[in-house]
Symmetry: C2
DNA sequence: TTCTTCATGTAACCAGTTACATGATTCG
DNA sequence: CGAATCATGTAACTGGTTACATGAAGAA
């Protein structure tokens, strides 16, 4: 399991509530790690019980109370241990490709419609990433240096999406024949 | 769940045992769908109970008996229904990127070692796919036409791996500084 | 003799999804 | 007046992993 470790990477630099983490997931790890709020809240509970993080209640006015979690020493050690051991290759389970593989059972226009639908989502994702890339390009000095590693993960997203779209071109070419 | 449908895509063209399916997964869908033998055997049991597939015992000499599964009419309908409805975008959970994102907690050489380890696996995968691509290139006529869709899924693998490796170059460049 | 292939499964556990559930504030 | 944001969770279910389990044939 790595949701635990993904949460710890996010908490390491700054404490936060379940809700905060949900937003950080979307903003920072969203292109390569997805987690629902249910998963996050439950995982935080488990991690708290295991002593990897501690929790402080933040009573707010006009807004619901927040449970602010922060890394403990034990959590920090666990994170470092995880970072040091090799992780296994990413598991891919792509149902669009399964569908395409069995696509002889469908007519080409149905397949084409679905591929195009996915394509528009990938295009959108690429645009957003391109935008963040532009912002990064304008940074300088320490700020830029600090974001070098997150930038590399963004580059993975960009190159990945470009490859996906190049592939979609080939598929469209075939399906339009 | 789509393991069910992946199995049906494989059974649609030819009946087979759990063991056969395991091999087909590796050979045909391996680059975009992974399933363990435990998953497959259990899923087949469930699908059999649900009437999507039927089962015939094949008693062999010198080898263990085989349970040969084949699609039923109900299974065929279910598969077509699945093929016709849109599938959601692929979920990505890539722990290597989480690690890289939190890589400031590690020294560059440790990160570099891990990236290179993954790189060699991706290179190997690409070589295998390239090889299959070559075999396809030599086909002609009906045989080639029948494999057009599987070939497109292979292309996805090839373009995906190339993009991964191009990204790895960027990462190495940064980590060797 | 050891490794690989053939061929099947169970059980316990861990991870993830879907549905259900609440309730205030702020913006248009 | 309705939608979005803030903020939290539980429960049931489905899907996937790890460990355990067996046993023969054939190749190196």
């Amino acid at each position: 399991m790595s949701l635990k470790h993904a949460i710890m990477v996010l908490l390491e630099t700054e404490a936060g509530s379940g809700y905060d983490l949900l937003k950080r997931f979307k903003q920072r790890l969203g292109f390569f790690w997805q987690a629902s709020h249910q998963q996050i809240y439950q995982q935080l509970k488990v991690m708290h019980q295991a002593g990897l993080i501690n929790c402080q209640l933040d009573i707010q006015q006009g807004k619901p109370d927040r449970k602010v979690y922060a890394m403990t020493e034990a959590g920090h050690e666990e994170l470092l241990a995880w970072l040091h051991k090799a992780c296994k290759p990413q598991k891919i389970n792509d149902s669009l490709l399964v569908k395409l593989y069995g696509g002889h059972l469908l007519d080409k226009s149905t397949l084409l419609a679905e591929v195009r639908q996915h394509k528009s989502q990938h295009e959108k994702a690429l645009l957003i990433m391109r935008d963040i890339e532009q912002q990064y390009a304008q940074l300088q000095g320490a700020e830029r240096d600090n974001l070098a590693l997150p930038f590399l993960t963004l580059r993975r997203g960009i190159l990945g999406e470009q490859a996906w779209l190049a592939w979609a071109e080939e598929v469209e070419m075939f399906l339009m024949e």
